[in-house]
Structure formats: structure tokens, C-alpha cells
């Protein structure tokens, strides 16, 4: 037992994937905590390490990937211990991923799959688990649960499948739910239904929620706290209001500027020139430097560390933005990228 006052505490986590062409540093020195009942959004683009982070937190990094350093503590116990992780995963921490079909077996009925989770983790019999499964389906808004329990996943639409996955995730009364792009594969009206469901369950059950997404719109409504990931590092963290309205890291600001909004018509999007770095060759400088309009020589020679600043926020930048209103970035030329 290591002392930790948090539900989940990640300390200096390093995850690497060795490949023939070099070692990919997917997660580089990430530290953060999640407390009971908190809703945390993790935002990043492809390759930012957000999904690897989620898998690491559940002890699900598979070979050739490995955790090269750091510690993950769940209520003081190390999740790097596979036996501990197996007992906690699905019971105290649950996960909802992007593709609901990938989390279900196509050849077993929904009822069988849901009861299996419960009989494995909880001290209850099959009959009781089956009744509970019906109640859970009802709770996540699936009509006629009795009949639905006897059906196979393919008989459900994408939105309904995701509801089943959520019901299964909640079946052992977890304390934390990790949702990795839970609505990315869904249509927008279905997305709205699922997001509302996740938010209301989180509040009703007092769950800690870690919502991982590339979509700034999704976290704006659902999360109180945010972390922005870039090239395997947290570049900025704070409350949703702080990051959306007074971003201090140029990447956060650029991400906001390049996202079109339904409610505001911009003449031109502020594209971020270039593309994310090759994760086999990073470190020794700020990874955002080649794309940053504010980069100086210091940014190219010294890697900034995530430093706490005012009111619980932190950023890793040598030249942070003013921090008052969302500053105007020079419109980037449609560059080579």
C-alpha cells in the first residue's frame, strides 16, 4: 500500500512501444489525479496518447507495449500489478470504448454477457444477476428489457449497443468510469442521447468520470476539469472554463481556433500548420515548437515542464499566452501538412 489520498493517481507515467524503426514514446511523464465524483475530460488528437493512457490506467497495455516508468495507484494499490488490476477492472473501474461491438461477443446473448460480469465480480447467483441486468437495461433507457436480454448484439442499433455496454459497465457499481471516445462512432442525435445518459448517471451515482475524446464540444458540456494532451504529454490542465476561455498554452488556443462552431460563424478557421511530431524522436524541446506561432529559441533547446499556476491550473509552456481572453493567433497559412 502506497499512501495516496486520491481515487486514481498517475505519477510520471511512461508508456513505450518498441518497433523495428525505433521506440515510440506514446505517453511521456504524465501525472494526474482523479477524485471521487469528479468529471475529467482528456482531449487530444490522434497519437496524443489519450487512449494509451486509458488502457494503462486499466492495466491493459499489451505487448510489445510496456510501461517504462511511473506508477498508477488506485486507492493506494498499484495497478501495475496484474493481479490487482484484474480484480479492479470491470468492478471498481469500468470502461466504455468507441466501438461497442468490440466490447461484446457476437455469439452470446446480451443477458449471458451481462450476467457473466456480475457473477464473476459480485457474490451473486445467475438468477439474481439476470434480474439485475434487466433493471440496468431499463436504467440506461432500453425499452422491453426482458425480451432484449435474450437477443444478440447484432439485433441492436449502434446507439442501443452503446447503452448495453454502459449498462454492463455499471453492473458492479464501479467508482470510476473511463469512457474512451464513447460517441465517436454514433450519429449526432444518438451522441446527444448517450452523452446525456453518461452525464446523468455520473451525477446520480456519484461516479468519477474520465472522458477521453478528440471533440472539444463533447467535453465542454460533460466535464468540469480538462487535460489537453499533445504528443504524449499533458500540455495544459485546469477547469473547463479556464481552458476554453483563457487558454494559456498555444496548442490549446490553436485547437479551439481550428474547431468550427455551430453557433459562431468564422470567416476562416485558424489551422495549425504542419503536423504532430514523430513520437520516436521527441524530447529535449517543446514538441509543439515546429507548429507554434510563439516559439522562441528556448523552446527548441529546453523541454518545458507542466507547472502549476493560479487557481489550480497548470501548463507546460515557456511563453504562455496572456491568459485573459482567447487571444488571436495569426492565421496560419494552409501549409505543407
Amino acid at each position: 500500500m502506497i499512501r495516496s489520498d486520491h481515487l486514481l493517481e498517475v505519477r510520471n507515467l511512461e508508456v513505450v512501444f518498441p518497433t523495428r524503426e525505433g521506440t515510440v514514446q506514446a505517453v511521456r511523464g504524465v501525472s494526474f489525479t482523479v477524485d471521487a465524483g469528479e468529471s475529467l475530460g482528456v482531449v487530444g488528437e490522434s497519437g496524443s496518447g489519450k487512449s494509451t493512457l486509458a488502457r494503462a490506467a486499466l492495466g491493459m497495455i499489451e505487448l510489445p507495449g510496456r510501461i517504462a516508468g511511473g506508477e498508477i495507484l488506485w486507492r493506494g494499490r498499484s495497478l501495475l500489478d496484474k493481479r490487482v488490476a484484474r480484480r479492479i477492472r470491470g468492478r471498481e473501474i469500468s470502461m466504455v470504448s468507441q466501438d461497442p461491438m468490440a466490447s461484446m461477443s457476437p455469439i452470446l446473448t446480451i443477458g449471458t454477457q451481462m450476467t457473466e460480469v456480475m457473477t464473476r465480480h459480485l457474490d451473486i447467483g445467475r438468477r439474481e444477476a439476470f434480474t439485475r441486468a434487466g433493471d440496468l437495461l431499463e436504467k440506461v433507457g432500453i425499452p422491453d428489457p426482458g425480451r432484449r436480454l435474450g437477443q444478440y448484439p447484432f439485433e441492436f442499433s449502434g446507439g442501443m449497443q452503446q447503452r448495453v455496454v454502459i449498462a454492463t459497465a455499471l453492473s458492479c457499481d464501479p467508482m470510476m468510469l473511463i469512457a474512451d471516445e464513447p460517441t465517436t462512432a454514433l450519429d449526432v442525435t444518438t451522441q446527444a442521447q448517450i452523452l446525456e445518459l453518461i452525464s446523468s448517471l455520473q451525477k446520480d451515482l456519484g461516479l468519477a468520470l474520465v472522458l477521453i475524446t478528440h471533440d472539444l464540444g463533447v467535453v465542454a458540456g460533460a466535464c468540469d476539469l480538462l487535460k489537453v494532451l499533445y504528443a504524449g504529454e499533458i500540455v495544459e490542465s485546469g477547469t473547463a472554463d479556464q481552458l476554453f476561455h483563457r487558454p494559456r498554452h498555444p496548442y490549446t488556443a490553436a485547437l479551439l481556433g481550428s474547431t468550427p462552431r455551430l453557433d459562431v460563424k468564422a470567416d476562416r478557421l485558424m489551422a495549425i500548420e504542419g503536423h504532430p511530431p514523430d513520437l520516436r524522436h521527441v524530447g529535449g524541446r517543446c514538441s509543439f515548437t515546429p507548429r507554434c506561432p510563439h516559439a522562441t529559441t528556448r523552446c527548441t533547446t529546453e523541454s518545458p515542464v507542466l507547472q502549476p499556476s493560479e487557481a489550480g491550473r497548470a501548463y507546460a509552456c515557456w511563453n504562455p499566452l496572456g491568459g485573459r481572453e482567447a487571444p488571436e493567433l495569426p492565421t496560419a497559412r494552409a501549409g505543407h501538412g
Binding site: E45, S46, S157, G159, M160, D187, V188, T189, T190, Q191, A192, Q193, L195, E196, H214, D215, L216, G217, V218, A220, G221, A240, D241, F244, H245, A254, L255, L256, G257, S258, T259, P260, R261, L262, D263, K265, A266, R268, L269, M270, A271, I272, E273, H275, P276, A332, A334, G335, H336, G337
Partner: protein
């Protein structure tokens, strides 16, 4: 309406999807696009938006002649392309090009960029081979913000955003008037998506292109489109200028769709009343009678179950298909 480049009238596309009945005596038909009409002016961007299965992609493919049309007309620059064949058809087809969604699946991994971009030029016999078209390829690469040296490389050397630029260069090779872009930025990360959207807008200004921009992302559609058409279950339910669709939506489905889109701003999100619509789009093989949306519509009346409302003018340059509004 000014100078209409493309007119679509009563476009209907059906797919045969198997047989029904005890002996399989009845052909099962799926109506992917049902009686869709709209027109697009030269130099305009027409956004076509809808959820999966709404028929937006099939509409684009039918205009390009990639799927057979069951009924209806498609007029390009005044000529009905459903009637012409052979040389004339090819000449029209040269003027309309497709930008597909997936920049990974749409480039042949065994061809160099020069061959890829020059392929339409060679197919239409403007050049004998890829080598002969080098000058034009360089021009196209520069136009799309790529490096001329890239023409000797293979697609695997490029990122998603760069591949989409190559796809755009190929679509522009024949100097088309109309570009049908089917989810051109959906597979890209938001920072790269912004680059490609900006590029498409710049190209439109420079080359006076006309776009049909098909997407499911309403924020992107709103950003790029002059006029927007909203599709639901094979039907065009509303057509209006971009700002009007967002400011004064008429069709209840449009309203529901707009309200479902999360806004990247926590203050707006907290203040916003999200009216989540229950249910899912109908089964396309057995769609409901009457208005296709009546099964989910909060305003549905008895007549909505009986007959499908026509798309009709409800305001200046604003059409909608709804009995109630």
C-alpha cells in the same frame, strides 16, 4: 436563382436488396434517395447534411452517374445528363469530380504521386503518359500546398492531411466546374481538418469552383456552405441559406439535429437547453407512411401519418417539407 450549374429534379435511387415473400416472389427494394430536388449556382457551396443512411452519399454518387437513377433528372449546365451517352457524357463527366472521404483507401499504394494525379489526364487522353503530364502535376501540387518533389513519392510517405491534398489535386486535374466532396475532412484530426477546409475555400475563390459538400458534421457544414440541404431517411426535408438554417430552422428534424450538436464552450453548454430527440431513424426498407419523421416528431399530427409533405417555399429562399410549420 441566378446561374444554375446543377439542377436535380425528383431524383430517386433504389437498391435491390434481396427478395421477400414465402417463395421470394417479391423484390425487396430500398429507396435510398426519394424524390429529391435542388439546384446549385455556379461558384456556390451547397452543403448536404444528414445522419448515416439519410441518402446524402447516394445523392452525390447518383449525380456523378456512379449509381443508376430510378427516376428524376439531373441537369448540368442546362443539359440533362440522364439522357446523354458516349462522348457527350464523358465530356460532362470531366466537369464533375469526386473527393472521397478516406484518404487512405482512395490512393493506390503502388502508384507514385505523379501517376496518381495524372491518371485522369491520361484516361481522358489529354496526355499520353504520366511523364508527359509532369508540368501539370507540379502546377497541381503547388496549387494544393504540396512540394513539387513529392510527385516521385508513394502515398505511404504522406500523412492523412497530405494524402487528402493529393486527392484534391487529382480531382482538380481536369479543371472541373463541380466538385462533389463526400465527407472530405471527416477522417482528419481537427487541426488538419482546418487546413483542408481552408484549402478548399481558397481553391473555390481562385478557380471559381462549385462544391457539393457532403458531411455529417453540422459545424463544418455551416462553416463552409452558402446554402444547406438537410436529409432525413432519403428525403430532403429543408433547404435554406446557411445562416437561416441555424437562425430560423423550420423542420422539426432540423431543429433536433441542431440542438444535438455540442458547442465547444462550457458557458454556452450550461445555458443551452438540449432537446434530445428520442428514437432512431426508420428502417429504410419499410419506412413509415407519410412524413418519415413523424415517428419521432414532437409536433406530429394525424395528417403527418397519412401523406408525405412536399418540399415547398416557407420563406425567402427557404424551403421545408412539413405539414405543421
Amino acid at each position: 436563382m441566378g446561374d444554375a450549374l446543377l439542377e436535380v429534379q425528383g431524383l430517386t435511387v433504389t437498391y435491390d436488396v434481396g427478395r421477400e415473400g414465402f417463395w421470394g416472389q417479391r423484390q425487396t427494394r430500398l429507396t435510398a434517395v426519394d424524390d429529391v430536388s435542388f439546384s446549385i449556382d455556379r461558384g456556390e457551396t451547397f452543403g448536404l447534411v444528414g445522419e448515416s443512411g439519410s441518402g446524402k452519399t447516394t445523392t452525390g454518387r447518383a449525380i456523378l452517374g456512379k449509381v443508376p437513377i430510378a427516376s428524376g433528372r439531373v441537369k448540368f449546365a442546362g443539359r440533362d445528363i440522364t439522357e446523354v451517352e458516349g462522348r457527350e457524357r464523358r465530356a460532362i463527366r470531366r466537369n464533375m469530380q469526386l473527393i472521397p472521404q478516406n484518404p487512405y483507401g482512395s490512393l493506390n499504394p503502388r502508384m507514385r504521386v505523379r501517376e496518381i494525379i495524372s491518371e485522369p489526364l491520361v484516361v481522358h487522353r489529354l496526355f499520353k503518359n504520366a511523364k508527359g503530364a509532369s508540368e501539370r502535376v507540379v502546377e497541381l501540387l503547388e496549387l494544393t500546398g504540396m512540394n513539387p518533389d513529392d510527385m516521385h513519392k508513394y502515398p505511404h510517405a504522406f500523412s492523412g492531411g497530405q494524402r487528402q491534398r493529393i486527392v484534391i489535386a487529382r480531382a482538380l486535374a481536369l479543371n472541373p466546374d463541380l466538385i462533389i466532396a463526400d465527407e472530405p475532412v471527416s477522417a482528419l484530426d481537427v487541426s488538419i481538418q482546418a487546413q483542408v477546409v481552408n484549402l478548399l475555400q481558397d481553391l473555390q475563390k481562385r478557380l471559381r469552383l462549385t462544391y457539393i459538400f457532403i458531411a455529417h458534421d453540422l459545424a463544418v457544414i455551416r462553416h463552409i456552405s452558402h446554402r444547406i440541404g438537410i436529409m432525413y431517411a432519403g428525403k430532403l426535408v429543408e433547404v435554406a441559406k446557411g445562416e437561416d438554417v441555424y437562425r430560423i430552422p423550420i423542420h422539426p428534424y432540423t431543429e433536433a439535429l441542431l440542438s444535438s450538436v455540442p458547442i465547444p464552450d462550457p458557458r454556452v453548454e450550461r445555458a443551452r437547453a438540449v432537446s434530445v430527440i428520442a428514437g432512431e431513424p426508420p428502417d429504410p426498407i419499410h419506412p413509415p407512411m407519410g412524413c418519415r419523421f413523424h415517428t419521432r416528431c414532437p409536433l406530429a399530427e394525424p395528417r403527418c401519418r397519412e401523406a408525405a409533405p412536399p418540399l415547398e417555399a416557407k420563406g425567402p429562399e427557404h424551403e421545408a417539407a412539413c405539414w405543421v410549420r
